[in-house]
């Protein structure tokens, strides 16, 4: 019987002994208290910043709905970690809070937040319902030169807030807010910039005023004398309107309707309220009443209604007196010779009508 074999030599572990696992951060150690304090300090600022710039954007419904959803998700994660990982999440969070890495994360977050704090502004239009009979307001926010800054906002009883925050876009902007519908309010400056949160109440923050669209149109005698739009005339006509002691000049008047009565950004909006078909009917009726042939009246009315010359040089108020003059300028011997056209100047008092037609003199 063979001798039993020697047992194989035991494998020699050549690996160096593993270092002892680091001791988990002690709950209640200095890092724990330090991180907790940092969180406690940071949280109010974040809350305040959120409230200032994002609260309105998220709206109550979104906030409540989103909060509930977030709570449900977090609770589910908590349960899964607890069941599958055999870990006590409460203990884990306490340990995480006591970790120096958490301090690093908090420090980075604090720096990022500090940057966002100084470079975030927000702009909100709030419907306040003051003096309004439950109607919607369309608000336009534009640069002073008329370029739109944001798409138009619509606020009203159904949607009381509109606007947004601009994170990391802290450049100051000179803006003008204008209620474009209904057109009964003066535009207001609404600059944003820095870390400001701008709240514009509609229509409470806007001063009410009445706009008047003036349609200045040549009557028959002057019409036949003026050059047509397509002509290359040798004589030109210059319309001057004195409003509030200031004279405004419109060079090269043609056979067209001059739209005036408001300044640059308001005039196109005012013209939006002008009904071209109705205006054409009005012109046609006036021309026929002046014994112009039916065909000619229809043709001229269509021409005058279609040919719009926008002149946003001055704005007017009801009762204001305007003085209109027209100069005929002809070049003679290389020099301009001007004379006042017969029937001019004449005075016109602005009425309370929103849209009014000023017929220039008929002339012989």
């Amino acid at each position: 019987m063979p001798a039993p074999a020697d047992p194989p030599p035991a494998a020699v572990d050549l690996q160096p002994p593993a270092p002892p696992a680091p001791a988990p951060p002690a709950e209640g150690g200095p890092w724990f208290w330090c991180n907790l304090l940092a969180l406690a300090l940071l949280a109010p600022f974040v809350t305040w910043w959120f409230h200032k710039h994002l609260d309105l954007y998220l709206t109550e419904v979104l906030l409540i709905g989103g909060g509930l959803s977030l709570w449900a998700v977090l609770r589910a994660v908590y349960g899964m970690v607890e069941t599958l990982g055999k870990i006590d999440p409460a203990s884990l969070s306490r340990r995480a809070l006591a970790s120096p890495e958490t301090s690093l994360v908090l420090a980075v977050a604090a720096v990022a937040f500090a940057l966002a704090w100084g470079k975030t502004n927000s702009f909100y239009i709030e419907y306040d319902g003051s003096g309004a009979d439950d109607r919607e307001f369309i608000v336009q926010v534009s640069h002073p030169d008329g370029r739109p800054f944001l798409p138009e906002f619509t606020v009203g009883p159904a949607a009381k807030v509109a606007g947004r925050a601009f994170v990391f876009q802290g450049e100051p902007q000179e803006l003008v807010c204008r209620i474009v519908k209904p057109l009964n309010y003066k535009p207001q400056p609404c600059p944003i910039g820095g870390r400001e949160a701008l709240r514009v109440k509609v229509p409470g923050d806007f001063e009410q005023r009445a706009f008047h669209l003036l349609r200045i149109v040549p009557h028959i005698g002057l019409f036949q004398e003026l050059p047509d739009v397509k002509d290359q005339p040798s004589v030109r006509y210059e319309l001057r309107v004195e409003a509030g002691g200031v004279a405004h000049t419109l060079p090269d008047l043609r056979r067209q309707t001059v739209f005036a009565g408001a300044l640059k950004a308001d005039l196109p909006l005012l013209m939006g309220g002008h009904d071209r078909a109705e205006y054409q009917d009005e012109l046609s009726a006036e021309l026929r009443a002046a014994s112009v042939e039916e065909d000619s009246a229809a043709r001229i009315a269509a021409k005058l209604a279609r040919r719009e010359r926008v002149w946003p040089a001055f704005d007017v108020q009801a009762g204001q007196l305007l003085r209109l003059s027209l100069r005929r300028i002809e070049q003679q011997s290389g020099r301009d010779t001007a004379r006042e056209v017969d029937g001019f100047p004449f005075d016109y008092t602005v009425t309370a009508d929103k849209v009014q037609t000023i017929w220039m003199p008929r002339l012989p």
């Binding site: 028959i220 005698g221 019409f223 036949q224 004398e225 003026l226 050059p227 047509d228 397509k230 002509d231 290359q232 005339p233 040798s234 004589v235 056979r255 021309l287 002046a290 014994s291 112009v292 042939e293 000619s296 043709r299 001229i300 021409k303 008929r362």
Partner: protein
């Protein structure tokens, strides 16, 4: 015949032919120097803008007037080729008349009526209103008028004027008011040899058909008084013999001095040769028929015409 004889005969014949040719040439040159061919009669056509809104505002007004004058002149030139209807300045020879289309305005409501009225003069006299219908350009109730656009105004005026000018009614009145009043010549010669009256115009310039009729009016002082007479001419045709070959000649149909009619014998009267001596003469077209096959009768082929 010897060679020398032949030479002598030939050289003598050549010299004679040369001499004859020289004489003919000299005769022709002399005739030409003595009396050059008359020029084609010319009628100046003008267009004047009197209506003030157009006159004051229209750019390039002279050009607009010239454009309209040329277009109207071309229309009359087609219908009355006996004269050069010139829409521009006179081309050297004194015009036999002037025709002026004038854009005028008449007070009306709501705006003045704008129309073209006709004025004319015989010779180089001052134009007077003609008994031709005015042509409405803008009725009082039309206010979109081309006061500042030359091309548009020219186009609009011609669209109004030319169709009227082409109408039979207008042409009939134009014949009476204008054509019959244009003196196509201010002299005439009575040729007793062939019993014709020669008008100092080239037939090929006037191209009067033989159905055309002319009227010669003359005034001459007789015994301290001015005597007026007229000679009706028919069968105008190109003169086929010298002198004045190619000129316009016509036969006499009727003649009168004052209220007395002259009795003609074979289309002639013994007093004719002296009839026009010292007289002021003017020859008018009374009936105008253009020649259908012009060019054959004056000895020039149709192709070269």
């Amino acid at each position: 015949m010897t060679h020398a004889d032949h030479f002598h005969h030939t050289s003598r014949g050549g010299a004679l032919r040369f001499l004859a040719g020289l004489l003919l040439w000299a005769g022709a040159a002399g005739a030409a120097w003595a009396e050059p061919d008359p020029l084609r009669p010319q009628v100046l056509v003008g267009f004047e803008v009197e209506a003030d809104k157009f006159r004051h505002n229209l750019p390039q007004l002279p050009q607009a007037s010239a454009d309209m004058a040329r277009a109207i002149a071309a229309e009359f030139a087609l219908r009355y080729p006996f004269a050069d209807w010139a829409g521009g300045p006179a081309a050297g020879n004194p015009p036999i008349g002037r025709l002026v289309a004038r854009l005028v305005q008449q007070p009306a409501v709501p705006l003045p009526e704008i129309s073209v009225k006709w004025f004319g003069a015989a010779g180089e006299g001052a134009p007077v209103a003609l008994a031709l219908p005015a042509i409405e350009i803008y009725s009082p109730g039309v206010i979109d008028r081309e006061t500042n656009n030359r091309q548009a105004l020219v186009s609009h005026v011609l669209q109004r004027v030319l169709p009227v000018v082409r109408s039979d009614g207008f042409q009939q009145r134009f014949m009476e008011a204008v054509v019959q009043g244009l003196p196509i010549a201010t002299t005439a010669e009575m040729h007793a040899t062939d019993h014709v009256v020669v008008i100092p115009r080239l037939w090929r310039d006037l191209r009067l058909g033989q159905e055309s009729k002319l009227l010669l009016v003359f005034k001459k002082p007789v015994g301290g008084q001015e005597q007026q007479g007229m000679v009706k001419l028919v069968l105008p045709s190109p003169r086929t013999r010298a002198p004045k070959q190619g000129w316009l000649e016509a036969a006499v149909q009727d003649a009168s001095i004052g209220a007395s009619s002259l009795t003609l014998d074979k289309g002639w009267h013994a007093s004719f040769p002296a009839l026009l001596d010292g007289a002021k003469v003017a020859c008018f077209i009374r009936e105008y028929r253009p020649a259908a096959l012009s060019g054959v009768l004056d000895g020039v082929s149709l192709v070269s015409e």
